[in-house]
């Protein structure tokens, strides 16, 4: 069987790292060659992941496949433990797909100061970090990958970003690091608490099986630590303020990967680590998470209405959408976690696509200010305008496109949260959360329609009447089509995500609920 070939995962994981090394030794004059090499390398990595996906046993999606376990840092008992199951696979796949598409996009588009060598090397380093978090099953290894992501993204924003790039990049780095510190402390405390009962106290699988260790107080405090780390990454309200700055200043590819993958590391962490290992703490925090999630949904949407910059608007929309993901988690049920993971992927695809569009918008108009653009995009660039309508509809949760299922099932799950929560009398609170979330969908529709009206509809005004604006270019079609199709496919056939995750989520939830 293919799916016991653990080395495949290692190859997929470190191919981009090797690629980054290769980039580093290439002469920086070879601009075009570097860009094409990056496409080949990320394409190769994506091909390996396609093979991994093809060999994945979907009938046994709950089990860890392509598993590798070797000793790593013996002094503290940390091991190199990789594996992939139905929860990891879609995120892992998305990481490679998005990076590949970003590499294609970069062959034509790269902001000042150019230098594709450094940019693409960082992007591939980033890829290894992102992918690693989704397949690492050792807390130390997970943490290494988690932190590895910060460095390349910091430089991507800091060097290739917009006018306020230095501020945004430092804020991104320090804010996330601030959360990671608490998370690391919590990991250490888990290690010490589990040491007596668990053979490998860094191992996520073993810790999950031993779930429920430690006192109630311990679980609460440890969860709080992990919560801070992940909540900042998601980001949950009120820890979201790094996000609009980072997104607004980041180069297009940075924004796509930030929205498409980086934010998912936080929600993935909740589902993979925080919930199963600290179920009591999670149950205690669930209502709070739910409330913060719904505040995030409504608050994020309101902020979107007030934005004047297209990219900042999309950035704030992430706060709302990730709110739905967290609401799913807050229900502490299988359906809720299914919803959260679905929302994760959907948001990655849809918002990643929106950031591509925002980037190309800037390339053409040289501004992202809604009032300056002033409408008429459908006249000047009909295809581009149609794509913006299409992806906006997906983002506002139209059934038949990707955004709907995650939102609806999250709301559904919040109506029937875990029995322990009902027993504690949270039923009414969760009903209020359902209604609040539903209100958020209306606000979401509101800001997207208003955006479309102001930039897309009407007739071009001012200097745009005569301006030459290129419609969607070939390279853009190539790098966008997979995402556009995925948006439709996920909406029409939600089973392609729900079906893959089902068994894994069932196993996960069973492990921590009686």
């Amino acid at each position: 069987m293919l799916n016991d070939q653990g080395w495949l995962l290692t190859v997929a994981l470190f191919l981009p790292l090797a690629g980054a090394g290769l980039m580093a030794v290439m002469p920086s004059r070879a601009d075009v060659l570097i860009r094409r090499t990056a496409v080949v390398l990320t394409g190769l990595a994506f091909a390996v992941v396609v093979v991994i996906t093809a060999g994945f046993d979907f009938g046994d999606a709950g089990a860890l496949q392509y598993e590798t376990t070797v000793g790593w840092i013996d002094a503290i008992g940390a091991r190199y433990h990789l594996g992939i199951d139905g929860i990891s696979l879609p995120l892992f796949f998305l990481t490679y797909l998005l990076t590949f598409l970003c590499a294609i996009y970069t062959t034509k588009h790269l902001p000042e100061p150019g230098k594709p060598k450094g940019f693409l090397a960082l992007m591939m380093l980033l890829q290894t970090g992102m992918a690693g978090t989704f397949v690492a099953f050792d807390l130390v290894l997970f943490f290494v990958f988690w932190e590895l992501v910060l460095v390349p993204m910091y430089f991507m924003i800091g060097i290739w970003g917009g006018p306020r790039r230095e501020y945004a990049s430092v804020k991104f780095f320090l804010y996330t690091l601030f959360g990671s510190v608490f998370m690391l402390v919590a990991f250490l405390s888990i290690y010490f608490a589990a040491r007596e009962t668990v053979t490998n106290p860094w191992d996520i699988v073993e810790l999950t099986q031993a779930a429920g260790f430690g006192s109630s107080t311990f679980q609460t405090w440890a969860f709080l630590g992990i919560f801070l780390g992940f909540a900042i990454k998601v980001p949950m309200w009120p820890f979201h303020t790094w996000l609009p700055d980072a997104h607004t200043e980041a180069p297009t590819v940075g924004s796509v990967l930030l929205a498409g993958v980086l934010l998912k590391m936080g929600t993935y962490g909740f589902i993979r680590i925080a919930l199963p290992i600290l179920p009591d703490g999670a149950m205690r925090f669930a209502p709070l998470i739910g409330v913060l999630a719904v505040i995030g949904i409504i608050y994020g949407s309101l902020c979107c209405i007030a934005q004047s910059d297209v990219k900042r608007l999309i950035a704030f929309s992430s706060v709302g959408h990730m709110g739905f993901v967290m609401l799913g988690i807050a229900s502490m049920t299988e359906t809720g976690i299914q919803a959260a993971l679905y929302g994760n992927i959907a948001h990655g695809v849809v918002t990643g696509m929106l950031f591509f569009l925002a980037g190309s918008l800037h390339e053409r108009y040289h501004t992202r200010d809604i009032a300056t653009i002033g409408g008429g995009m459908l006249v000047k660039m009909p295809r581009y305008g149609a794509l913006l309508v299409y992806v906006s509809m997906a983002s506002l949760g139209l059934p038949g496109l990707a955004g709907f299922w995650g939102e609806f099932t999250a709301l559904w799950a919040a109506r029937s949260p875990a029995e322990a929560l009902v027993a504690d009398g949270y039923s009414g609170l969760y009903l209020a959360l359902v209604i609040g979330g539903a209100v958020g969908t209306v606000l979401t529709a509101g800001y997207f329609l208003w955006l479309l009206q102001r930039v897309g509809l009407g007739r071009p005004t001012g200097k745009w009447v005569e301006a030459k604006l290129a419609d969607v270019m070939t390279i853009e079609w190539v790098s966008w089509t997979p995402l556009l199709l995925l948006i439709l496919a996920m909406g029409v056939a939600p089973v392609i995500i729900f079906g893959v995750q089902d068994a894994a989520v069932a196993d996960l939830v069973r492990s921590f609920t009686p």
Binding site: Y154, G158, E166, Y167, S169, V170, K171, F173, L174, L177, V181, F182, L184, V185, L188, S189, A193, F218, P238, T241, Y299, L302, C303, C304, I305, A306, E334, T335, Q338, A339, L378, V379, M393, L398, P399, G400, F404, T409, L411, W412, R415, S416, L431, A438, T441, V442, A445, L449, W450, L457, G458, R459, P494, V495, F498, G499, D502, V505, A506, V509
Partner: protein, 769 residues
């Protein structure tokens, strides 16, 4: 024939395939894609007729249900994709495909020469598909999918002329108003299905399962009441019930065929349909029933009056649609299941006819305004004849479709009232009054359009008829006229490139066959669709065993009883029902039982348990309705019979006119108290708190860290340590240097800080354990 029912999904799939094909190849086809749409819906129409015929002849049939698993959603629950074919579904299939076929044929001529002709046909097919997804849904989640998709198509088609701001605004208003109502739909569906899930079903959205659970008493009263009221909120938005009807008149900004198909015959009835679909659940609670009836009766009564002060023919028809949707909803609310959907059915035909007729007129006159028409019967005899038939049907003239269905609504209300429910009586009398208003505004429209002399488009002349009215009214009316003009743009766009039609000052002439065929088809159909459900059905060769009732009744409907009515009966039989006794009734039905006992209805007709009684002829209803009709037509003739009066009396009613012209101020209230606060107050405030308050805290923490670093360096390091122990290896200088350079982003040092911080915190943590 029976196997045909298994292929109902084909009716859904065909328009979808058409939409895709038109989108992909439409522009390459000789008729620019319209032939694909028409061919697909024609086949779908034939299949629908087959299904309709079978279910009619054999009705009421056991629903034929089939489904496949769309996706698992955790905990063993399934999302299904399926079809549920019974008489109600069949009726809707026939209605939707018939009107869609007529409208598509009509659009070939009406939209001729449009730049985005192909896109328009793709959208019509996509809409038809979406509506049918809703119609055949075997589960509420699929219904939500169809429901949202028809909303999207409606949005895209209202905004078909998106170059103009009023059209954009109308499209956004429609989408957002209905989306607001969809809070209710979503929450309602979730509440009901979560309730069903608790009964152990793995398919919580399944409609049959939901109905069984509700009728079997497995759902708590709170679940039923909350679920139904919330779903009803969704229906209020979609089906233009007050006060969320505000989007529907504005939606007339779309091309007229769209108004006929989406905003008259099909989409706007989705709310009524969904309530009918879940009727056995709604029937469990008197609170729910009364809410439906009250909203319906308010809508039917008040919307009609606004039509009296409209000059734009499409606006007249739009308010008329709102009012008729009110009849449907009110009928459902007073136990008239069959009456409600019967009116839905007949209304679909004659209102589509009226809209298409108005399109034919607009096409000829180049204006939406009735003040620009007049004397049209001479120029457009076919349009005249068919429009009059439609108007008579809407007004409920005897033997037309609207007569039978409106009659049945009133009869249902009367029976409900006789059973001791006050709402029945209210619906009866207000329904009767509403019928008179309906007749009056339709008679006014017909006289203004077809009688007198042709006035032609003289924009300056528009407000003349009310120049003596009070100033406010004039101003408001002028604004209305401007809006109407903007709405009329669709026509101008359609005409500008139509060869031979762009002579603005020639006398108007009759439309071509592609417009007339659908008009005649719908006009002819306006009769049998009424007879099929009316009390005269067996007189004209039909059978009382086989009529609209038996067609659309389902087994669930036949078995449905009103628990609150039973409680009332028990209460009444027990003599003077004390409060305590009523409270001791079935749990949760306290309010219903109590209210009934208080009303003390003595007559409990056997019809109480029969929601869909055979067509009955109530002579008194017939006489009342006929009197209302004659008085209204007579009144309209006196005022408008000789063409446009110099002073339209509906504009001379002082404050009443002001109120009506301003549409009861609902639009203003919505804008002033919902849109403005959210868009201009709340959103900037949220953005401000994010940028200033929350981010301010973050920045302050960062700043404090920097200052701490500086202090550490100057005070602790330079003065204390440096003055004492010189050159400590892990010195504070290192720290302060790092902190001072926070803005420089020296990444390697963060790792050091991370490690050090971690060690400290671990020590703290271990000590705490």
């Amino acid at each position: 024939m029976e196997q045909l029912l298994d292929y109902a999904w084909l009716v859904v799939a065909l328009p979808f395939a058409a939409a895709v094909l038109i989108g992909a190849f439409g522009k390459l086809m000789p008729l620019k894609g319209s032939e694909i749409g028409i061919a697909a819906v024609f086949v779908a129409w034939l299949i629908s007729l087959g299904i309709g015929g079978y279910t009619f002849v054999n009705g009421p049939i056991e629903a034929v249900e089939s489904s496949l698993t769309w996706a698992p959603m955790g905990s063993g629950f399934e999302i299904q994709l399926g079809q549920y074919v019974d008489g109600l579904t069949a009726m809707m299939l026939v209605l939707v495909t018939t009107v869609s076929l007529g409208v598509q044929l009509y659009s070939r001529e009406y939209m001729h020469g449009e730049e985005r002709f192909t896109y328009f046909f793709a959208m019509l097919s996509l809409f038809t598909f979406s509506m049918l997804v809703l119609v055949v849904a075997n589960n509420t989640l699929q219904a939500v999918v169809g429901w949202e998709l028809v909303g999207l198509c409606s949005f895209l088609l209202i905004g078909f002329y998106w170059h103009e701001k009023p059209n954009q605004d109308a499209a956004n208003k429609a989408f957002l108003t209905t989306k607001f109502a969809d809070i209710g739909l979503i929450v309602g569906v979730i509440v009901l299905s979560a309730g069903v899930a608790q009964t152990g079903s793995s398919t919580p959205f399944d409609i049959e399962t939901t109905i069984d659970a509700a009728m079997g008493g497995e759902l708590s009263t709170a679940t039923i009441v909350l679920g139904c009221l919330m779903i009803f909120l969704g229906a209020v938005g979609k089906s233009g019930q007050m006060p969320l009807h505000v989007w529907l008149p504005d939606a007339m900004a779309g091309p007229t065929p769209v108004s006929a198909l989406i905003h008259a015959a099909t989409m706007v009835t989705a709310g009524v349909f969904l309530v009918a679909r879940l009727y056995p659940v709604f029937a469990q609670s008197l609170v729910v029933m009364n809410t439906v009836a009250i909203v319906g009766v308010i809508t039917l009564f008040f919307a009609g009056f606004v039509a009296l002060v409209q000059d734009d023919i499409k606006k007249v028809l739009a308010y008329s649609t709102v009012s008729q949707l009110g009849y449907m909803m009110a009928a459902l609310g007073v136990g008239g299941y069959t009456a409600g959907i019967f009116h839905l059915f007949t209304h679909g035909f004659f209102k589509a006819l009226l809209f298409l007729g108005s399109g034919s007129l607009i096409h000829a006159v180049h204006s939406n305004n009735m003040s620009d028409m007049g004397g049209m019967r001479k120029y457009m005899p076919w349009t005249f004849a068919t429009f009059i038939i439609g108007s008579l049907a809407l007004a409920g003239f005897p033997l037309t479709a609207g007569f039978f269905s409106k009659d049945e609504v009133l009869v249902a209300a009367q029976i409900w009232g006789d059973a001791g429910f006050t709402m029945g009586t209210v619906v009866f009398w207000l329904g009767l009054a509403g019928a008179a208003v309906t007749t009056f505004y339709m008679a006014r429209a017909c006289f203004l359009i077809f009688f007198g002399e042709h006035r032609g488009v003289h924009h300056a002349a528009v407000p003349t008829h009310d120049e003596h009215a009070d100033e406010h009214t004039v101003v408001e009316h002028a604004v209305e006229a401007e809006e109407a003009e903007a709405a009329a743009h669709d026509h101008a766009g359609a005409v500008s490139s139509t060869d031979g039609h762009d002579v603005h000052h020639g006398s108007p002439h009759e439309s071509g066959w592609q417009i007339l065929v659908p008009l005649v088809m719908l006009a002819v159909l306006s009769f049998p669709v009424g007879f099929a459900g009316g009390f005269l059905w067996d007189e004209v060769g039909g059978s009382t065993e086989r009529n609209f009732e038996t067609w659309t009744a389902t087994h669930d409907i036949e078995e449905t009883t009103y628990p609150f009515a039973a409680a009332a009966e028990a209460g009444a039989e027990g003599g003077e029902a004390e409060e305590g006794h009523a409270l001791a009734g079935a749990d949760g039905e306290v309010l219903a039982a109590g209210a009934l006992a208080a009303e003390g209805g003595e007559e409990h007709g056997e019809s109480l348990h029969v929601l869909h009684g055979a067509p009955e002829f109530h002579l008194d209803v017939f006489v009342y309705a006929l009197i209302a009709f004659l008085v209204a037509v007579g009144g309209a003739w006196v005022i408008y019979g000789r063409g446009m009066p110099a002073r339209d009396p509906t504009f001379r009613l002082g404050p009443v006119t002001t109120l009506l012209v301003n549409k009861y101020y609902f639009d203003d209230l919505g804008y002033r108290f919902v849109v403005v606060p959210v868009r201009d107050k709340l959103s900037p405030a949220a953005s401000w708190t994010s940028n200033v308050v929350i981010d301010g805290i973050v920045k302050r923490v960062g700043g404090a860290a920097k200052r701490l670093g500086a202090v550490t360096y100057t005070t602790l390091d330079q003065k204390v340590i440096d003055g004492g122990i010189n050159g400590a290896a892990f010195s504070a200088a290192w720290w302060s240097d790092k902190l001072r350079r926070i803005q420089s982003g020296d990444v390697q040092r963060y790792a050091g800080a991370l490690l050090a911080g971690t060690i400290v915190l671990v020590l703290v943590f271990s000590a705490a354990r």
